[in-house]
Subunit: 202 residues, 2 copies
Amino acid sequence: MKSTIPVMSLQRLPVYLNYLKTLSNQEFISSGAIARALNMGEVLVRKDLAFTSAQGRTRVGYNTGELIAALEEYLGCNEIKNAVIFGAGGLGSALLSYGGFGNYGINIAAAFDNNPQKTGLTVGGKPVLPVEDAAAFVGEHDVKLAVICVPAKVAQSVADVLVGCNVKSILNFAPAQLSVPEGYNVRNIDVAANLAILSSLI
Amino acid sequence: MKSTIPVMSLQRLPVYLNYLKTLSNQEFISSGAIARALNMGEVLVRKDLAFTSAQGRTRVGYNTGELIAALEEYLGCNEIKNAVIFGAGGLGSALLSYGGFGNYGINIAAAFDNNPQKTGLTVGGKPVLPVEDAAAFVGEHDVKLAVICVPAKVAQSVADVLVGCNVKSILNFAPAQLSVPEGYNVRNIDVAANLAILSSLI
């Protein structure tokens, strides 16, 4: 079933989850109330939530706790998944220290860097290791997710290392288009481009 | 004209720009070649590029330099725009030191934080100032863009400050849904949610 959810719907599930977690002591919530709070259409909200196991009831809505649990189950928040970061510069180090991954069951296990002044360090309690150690580490720790925080000109070479290690899902912060074989998923976050897009809308 | 471009098209313009900049010494490029390199449809590429002033020629394609210039013009890369960051923690500090904003004409002018141990510091050559100074600074420096890098529970209060200062475009890294009046633009980047989405696709 997961493979049939549209990516746009999947992207909204964490938004619902974050919002629902801010509602303390509210036993039930309707799709209409969620839609109004998030400035979305009610039909869209209902369709999105129908991909989870949550069941809304007429005139009552969803049990808030059950809906949170259904979203967490769908997003795999209860299964620990190891991830690694490539590039222990400013952004990579910030992500090593970021506490928000645990909400989704994601454990940042280590970072890799080719700068010998960084390897051997511990950042946010996580080791920074040489890139040569990546393949062995990924195999030992069953790593399926990676975050690329290296400069654009070396991003493809890091992607090639990840493909060689069979790491199927890559979050890429480098402003570069990565080429990966079929079956691999890449999501790009270009922070500067996002600001430029906002700026274009003014 | 800018207001009529679909957001999805606008989001792809920086992708084209980044790709074209990697082509050195290639005088012409066709929409087909761009489409193949970026794994997109050729019609889509042609439609997107038609929003810029670039003119492709039959059997020759676009002059690469002219296309880069047209994209840079459309994205406002040649006009300096001041932006500020709220929250000088790990992510905020990383962005203060990031050199990639200049490609889009964006100048990160300062960061604001309410921690007195951070205010007064200089990070990446940029001052970290108390939040109370934000309104005056924004007015003096004609700031139109802001980046929110504070914890989720205080993100809305920062958004309220920005609305009070008339900062119309906000890039929000906090995992919180911000409420802003009509006419304000918010783009959300929830890094942990992006990793969770990737993880759901495995």
